[in-house]
Symmetry: C2
Subunit: 224 residues, 2 copies
């Protein structure tokens, strides 16, 4: 059985990537792989891979390597992808609708069971097999259906109040797309942030840094 | 003038967050702030903040703290937000259209100058002030307009080929939403990944881990 607890977030963040690569190997009918080969493929070191997987009990066999299907299944289980944790989406604007349509919740351990908005033009419209509900009915819905997690696709200024309401309804897991650092104001919450704006600005830095390096390389070799 | 080069990615990733918090302070008409106060607000340590900002030359004044407006502007400049790097979007499906509509490119150092797709039903439709162009015209467009960066909102299986074409057109900066680790196959590219699927799976792990801890806490205190 897998060891758990006290696994660092950086290891956890690598699990989906292992899962993706192993899934691709499966599709190519690769049945087993050594840590060295997997390392080469993923541009990690073999010792890093062994270390990562040892956090959960280790799965390799000396001289045999990893059984691809077994490891894929096991990493899926470690992440809880075999469950169907009930989840709701708050905010069905452009971003919210796209997230609802785009993500494969069922294969990622979740089941999207409700979508809420407070805009009369959006309430009643369909997204996936769901109809957007009036946010005024959120409390009733939660009391009946007990969602465990919420996706937040709402403007920054509304987020705090919505999180307070969700916490009062027993939801404390948030996949957060709003630009609000909610873990600063709330304790004992699980937050996975997708700050698209931060990502774009980080990208901007890297683009400019790369082009500055290029220019300085050119300056350094004026004789060519 | 700001120091540059060899700044670690973890420092760079914190810059947008500094920028956001300083922007909020500005909106509240806060004109100066000590590293201690800023640290408290952002839940960092004062020494971490001083260390981060020293990577770029440092901006504080002993006994005065930071000038909020000046630091906000300076961090924006460090990230290159004052520029308008020309950028194109490849893939105008749900996700691509939403990214195009949702992001504030102009305030993030970019200018979106073209959107491309190969689906006849999507070509010719409008997104923002742009019309989606036929991907067949990509080469002509790039030769005329010289975009420097590309957003990739295309399926995994098409990404490699598209990146090869873009590289041949001089584009080597990618804001990548496709589930393809393109830095494994291409050198000398700048890639900022937004792997939404990985984020959802990481979230799944954390949700399950938190609920397992709760259950085990309950087991540990059976007398209550």
């Amino acid at each position: 059985m897998a060891k758990r607890g006290n696994v660092s977030l950086s290891v956890i963040r690598r699990l989906p990537r292992y899962y993706r690569f192993l899934g691709e190997l499966l599709q190519k009918n690769v049945t087993r792989i050594s840590s060295r080969e997997l390392a080469q493929l993923m541009q990690l070191t073999a010792s890093q891979i062994r270390q990562d997987l040892n956090c959960f009990g280790g799965f390799g066999q000396q001289g045999y390597g990893y059984n691809v299907a077994a490891l894929h299944t096991e990493i899926g289980k470690i992440m809880g992808l075999d469950k169907q944790t009930p989840m709701i989406l708050i905010g069905a604007g452009n971003l919210g609708r796209t997230i609802a349509k785009h993500m494969n919740f069922e294969k990622s351990g979740f089941k999207l069971i409700g979508i809420f908005d407070n805009n009369p033009e959006i309430i009643g419209t369909g997204v996936r097999q769901l109809t957007v509900s009036d946010a005024a009915h959120l409390r009733d819905f939660c009391l009946r259906n007990h969602p465990v997690a919420a996706i937040l696709c709402i403007p920054r200024e509304n987020t705090r109040q919505v999180v307070e309401e969700l916490l009062s309804l027993g939801i404390r897991n948030f996949w957060n797309f709003s630009h609000y650092d909610l873990s600063l104001d709330f304790e004992n919450v699980v937050v996975e942030n997708v700050h698209l704006g931060d990502s774009l600005m980080t990208f901007c830095y890297q683009v400019n840094e790369a082009s500055a390096e290029e220019e300085s390389d050119e300056e350094k070799s004026p004789i060519f």
